[in-house]
C-alpha cells in the first residue's frame, strides 16, 4: 500500500505526461506481484467496489470526531474523503500497512456490515497519504490524471514490449494481470486471446499535407467521407458483444442499441453517430450520450445511435487485417449484405478521377456531419497505430473569428510561471445600447513559445484586476481564433460554445473595436 499511495500522490500533482510515465514505470519495476497488477487495474479503471460509503463514513466519524470540528475541517478542505484521511487520529507507533492486493481482496470478499471495521483498522495503520489513497481507491474517484492508455504506455516503456501488442491482448486479461506481468518480465509466454471479444488497436490516419495531396495518384486511393462522430470498434466474439472507443475503453454499457444487433464472429471498425431518419445529427447530440456508464430509455429514443462501417477486421476466426484494404472492403460489403445488422450501414466510397474533382465533390457536399475526407491506399493492410503512407485525413478548413483577450490564467507544469490560458470575447450590444464584450471561449494553445512570452508580457503589463491565478486585462488585444464548430450552450453566458478553439494568429495590429460580434458567431451555428 505504501509504494502505491506514494505513486498516486505524485501522479496527482505531476502535470507532465512524460514524468507520469516515469513515475508509473518506476513503480511497476519495483512493486511485487500481485500488488502491481491491482495497481494497474486501479489506474486503468478496472476495479469497482460496491460499498455504501456514505453510511460507512458516518459510522466511522461518529465514534471519533467532534461534529463541529469535522464540519469546520470539511469546509476548509473541500472534500469529504480527503478530510477523513487528514483528520484521522494517527497512531503513535507506526505499523506496516497491508499490501494493496490484500486490501482489494478483503473488500471484495467482505460482508457489508464488516466493512466499517475493516476500513477503520486499515486507516489506523496508514499514514495520511495512505489513508487518502485508500479512500480514493475505494470510492473510485481517483482523479490523478492518468488514462488507461497512459498506464499501458508506461507498461510498454518499462518492459520494452510494443504498446500495440499490449493493447492487442489487453481486453482478454483481468486483474491482477499475472500472465501479463509474467510475459512483460520475460517469465512467461504472451497471453493468448484468440476468439475472445477484445479490443484490437485501431488504424489511424495522418493529416495530409499539400505536397502529399499533390502527389496522390487517384487510381491508387479510395476516398470516403470523414464523419464527425467518434471512431469505434464493435465486436461479437466468444459470446460477448462489445463496443470500444478508439483508445480501447469499453463503452458497450452506454450504447445497447448498437451493440444488440451485432452478428457473432465479426470485429468491425466504424464511426459512431447519432442518426435520425437517415440523417447524421450534429456532434453535440452524440456528446449527450458519451461519458455515461448507462443510458436512459428516453435518451435511446431521442438520440438513437448508429455505426457507419469503415472496415472488417475479423470474420469468424479469420484475421483479415493483413489483407489489402480493397479486399477487406469487398468482404465488409458481402458480410453486411448477408447479415444486414440493424443500426449500421457501410460508409460510401466516393468515386473520383482527380483531386480537383474530389475537391469539387466535397465543396458540394451539404450534409451535416461531414468533417472532411479520408484517403486510403487500395493495398493498405490494417495496422494498429498510425502507420505512415497508408491513410490520410483531409479536414475541412476551420472556422475563424477575431476575438478580444479578456482574461488570462496561469498555466500548469512547465507553464506555471506564464499566463497561458486565455479567455476571449466577442462584441454584443449591452444595456443602453453600448457595445460590450462577452466571453465566448477559452484556449491555451495554437501559439509558439516565443509568442507565449510576448503574451505573458502583455498580460502582466495590461492587468486591470486579478482574482487568484486569473488576471483581467485591458480589452485591446485581438486573437484570430480557429475552431471546428460552434453550438448553442445554456451553460455559457454568451449562449454559445466553441468546439476545439485554438489561437490561430495574434493580431497585434488589429484594434479591438474591429473584432467580431457575437452575432457573427451565432450565424456559424449548425445545429
Amino acid at each position: 500500500m505504501k509504494a502505491f499511495s506514494a505513486l498516486l500522490d505524485r501522479l496527482a500533482y505531476t502535470p507532465s505526461r512524460n514524468d507520469k510515465l516515469r513515475l508509473m514505470a518506476d513503480y511497476f519495476a519495483g512493486a511485487p506481484d500481485p500488488d502491481r497488477g491491482y495497481a494497474l487495474a486501479v489506474l486503468t479503471d478496472g476495479l469497482f467496489f460496491r460499498v455504501p460509503f456514505r453510511r460507512i463514513f458516518a459510522e466511522m466519524l461518529e465514534a471519533r470526531v467532534d461534529p463541529v470540528l469535522f464540519k469546520l475541517s470539511r469546509d476548509y478542505v473541500g472534500d469529504t474523503a480527503e478530510t477523513i484521511a487528514l483528520l484521522w487520529p494517527a497512531r503513535e507507533e507506526s505499523q506496516e500497512p497491508p499490501p494493496l492486493a490484500e486490501v482489494v481482496k478483503a473488500v471484495q470478499d467482505a460482508k457489508p456490515e464488516a466493512i466499517t471495521r475493516l476500513l477503520a483498522g486499515w486507516l489506523d495503520q496508514l499514514d495520511a497519504t495512505g489513508r487518502w489513497a485508500l479512500l480514493k481507491l475505494l470510492t473510485g474517484a481517483l482523479r490523478v490524471g492518468v488514462s488507461a492508455r497512459l498506464a499501458k504506455t508506461a507498461l510498454a516503456q518499462w518492459s520494452g514490449k510494443p504498446l500495440s501488442e499490449i493493447e492487442e491482448i489487453w481486453h482478454g486479461l483481468t486483474p491482477p494481470y499475472q500472465p501479463l506481468f509474467a510475459w512483460l518480465t520475460g517469465n512467461g509466454p504472451r497471453p493468448d486471446i484468440r476468439g475472445s471479444a477484445v479490443f484490437r488497436p485501431l488504424m489511424l490516419a495522418h493529416a495530409i499535407e499539400e505536397r502529399e495531396l499533390a502527389a496522390i495518384t487517384p487510381s491508387d486511393f479510395a476516398a470516403e467521407w470523414k464523419w464527425d462522430g467518434i471512431r469505434v470498434q464493435a465486436c461479437h466474439q466468444g459470446g460477448a458483444k462489445r463496443l470500444f472507443s478508439r483508445t480501447g475503453d469499453d463503452i458497450s454499457g452506454a450504447f445497447p442499441d448498437v451493440v444488440e444487433g451485432l452478428p457473432e464472429g465479426a470485429v468491425l471498425d466504424g464511426e459512431l453517430l447519432v442518426m435520425r431518419g437517415g440523417d447524421v445529427a450534429p456532434f453535440n447530440d452524440l456528446q449527450q450520450r458519451l461519458n455515461r456508464k448507462t443510458v436512459t430509455g428516453a435518451m435511446l429514443k431521442s438520440h438513437p445511435a448508429h455505426i457507419r462501417l469503415y472496415d472488417l477486421l475479423f470474420e469468424g476466426d479469420e484475421d483479415l487485417r493483413a489483407l489489402p484494404f480493397m479486399e477487406r472492403r469487398a468482404r465488409l460489403e458481402a458480410w453486411h449484405g448477408t447479415h444486414a445488422p440493424s443500426r449500421t450501414d457501410v460508409s460510401e466510397i466516393v468515386a473520383f478521377e482527380s483531386i480537383a474533382e474530389l475537391e469539387a465533390l466535397w465543396a458540394g457536399a451539404r450534409e451535416t456531419g461531414i468533417e472532411g475526407l479520408m484517403l486510403k491506399r487500395h493495398d493498405s493492410p490494417y495496422i494498429g497505430g498510425r502507420p505512415k503512407g497508408h491513410w490520410y485525413k483531409w479536414k475541412r478548413a476551420p472556422l475563424m473569428i477575431d476575438a478580444v483577450l479578456l482574461y488570462a490564467q496561469r498555466g500548469s507544469g512547465k507553464r506555471s510561471s506564464y499566463y497561458s490560458d486565455y479567455t476571449f470575447g466577442a462584441w454584443r450590444e449591452g444595456e443602453h445600447g453600448a457595445p460590450e464584450l462577452v466571453p465566448v471561449g477559452k484556449s491555451y494553445f495554437g501559439f509558439t513559445d516565443e509568442e507565449l512570452k510576448q503574451l505573458d508580457n502583455f498580460v502582466r503589463s495590461n492587468t486591470v484586476d486579478s482574482f487568484g491565478p486569473v488576471r483581467q486585462v485591458m480589452p485591446k488585444l485581438v486573437f484570430e481564433v480557429a475552431f471546428d464548430s460552434v453550438h448553442h450552450s445554456k451553460r455559457h453566458k454568451s449562449g454559445v460554445a466553441m468546439r476545439f478553439p485554438r489561437i490561430h494568429r495574434i493580431r497585434w495590429d488589429k484594434p479591438a473595436e474591429e473584432a467580431d460580434t457575437l452575432q457573427t458567431l451565432q450565424a456559424m451555428i449548425v445545429d
Binding site: 500533482y13 470526531v65 463541529v68 470540528l69 469535522f70 472534500d79 483528520l87 495520511a128 496561469r410 506555471s416
Partner: protein, 337 residues
Amino acid sequence: MTPGRFEDWLTVDSKGLYCRPGDFHVDPSSAVSRAVITHGHSDHARPGHEAALATPETLAIMDARLGEGAPRRKQAASYGEPIKIGDVTVTLFPAGHVLGSAQVLVEYKGARAVVSGDYKRSTDPTCAPFTLVPCDLFVTEATFALPVFQHGDAGAEVAKLIKSVEQFPERAHVVGAYGLGKTQRLIALLREAGYERPIYIHGALQSCCDLYESFGVPLGALSPATGAAREDLRGAIVLAPPSAIADRWSRRLPDPLTAFASGWMRVRARARQQGVELPLVISDHADWRELTNTIAETGAEEIWVTHGREDALLHHIRSTGRRGRALALIGREDEDQ
C-alpha cells in the same frame, strides 16, 4: 481564577497586546515606545520601535532585516533570565519556532501569563526546543488549528524531496521556503539526511542563512542560484522565497519541478492552487495536536487565541471546560504564504 482578572492588566489596543503595569506591547503591529518581541518574522517584528526587549538572536535578525527601522534601544534577554519591567517580571523561554523565538512569561501580583508568539513542539535542529511554562493564562496562535493539520515527520518529507531528485535528475528542484526559519531548517534537515551537495539559494535568502551560521547553525555548502550555470542546476535543489518559485525568476532554471515546504501543503486544493508539483508538509507552527496538548499541559484555565483558525480552537477550549477568548489581532499573516 476570577473571570476578567487578566483583562485588568493585559489589554488589546489598536497596536495589539498591551501590558499596562509594565507599559509595553508584545509584538505590536506598528511603532511603539516599548515592545517585547517574540521572534523576527515581519508580522511580529515591525519597524520603528523606540525600545525593544528580545533574545540576542531576534535582535540581530531585526537589525539585519529592518536596517533603519530596527529598534533604537535594544535590550537583550537570555532564555530564563527574569527581567523587571515596571511592576511586572518578564522572562523569555524558547518557543521552538525559529532561531531566537521566545515565549514571554509575564508575572504580575502572583498571576502568570504566557504570550507564546508562534511555536512548535516538533524537533528543529536550527533552534532551541520549546519549553513548557506552566501558567494561568496562555496566549496561543491558531495558524493550523484544525484537526486536519497533523504535520508528521519532517524527515520523511525531506526524504520525498531527495527521492524525487534521484527520479528526475534532469530537473531543477525549486523549493519555496520562507526566508527566516523554514529555509535554514530545510537545509539542516537535508544535511541530516546525508545530502552533501551544494544547495542553491535565491539572493533574498542569503542574509538569514549567514545570520544562522554566525549563531553556530551549520548549513554546509550554499551557492547563489542567480548567476549559476543553467546546466549546473539540473538535478540541484534550489531554495527560493514562495513568491519566486512559479514566477519569472524560476524561468532561469532547467525544467523546474516546483516544491513548497509549508504546513499548508497538507491540503491538496491548497497545493494545486499554487501549481505545486511536490508538496512538502514541513511547518514551523504547532499542529492541532501540539496546540491542544500544549494548552492542556500549561495548566492554564484561560486561553486567548491571537490569530488563525480561532473558531475550531475556541470550540475545543470551551468544550474542555476552559475559558477562551479570540483576540483578533490585526496585522498577523500566515508567513508560510
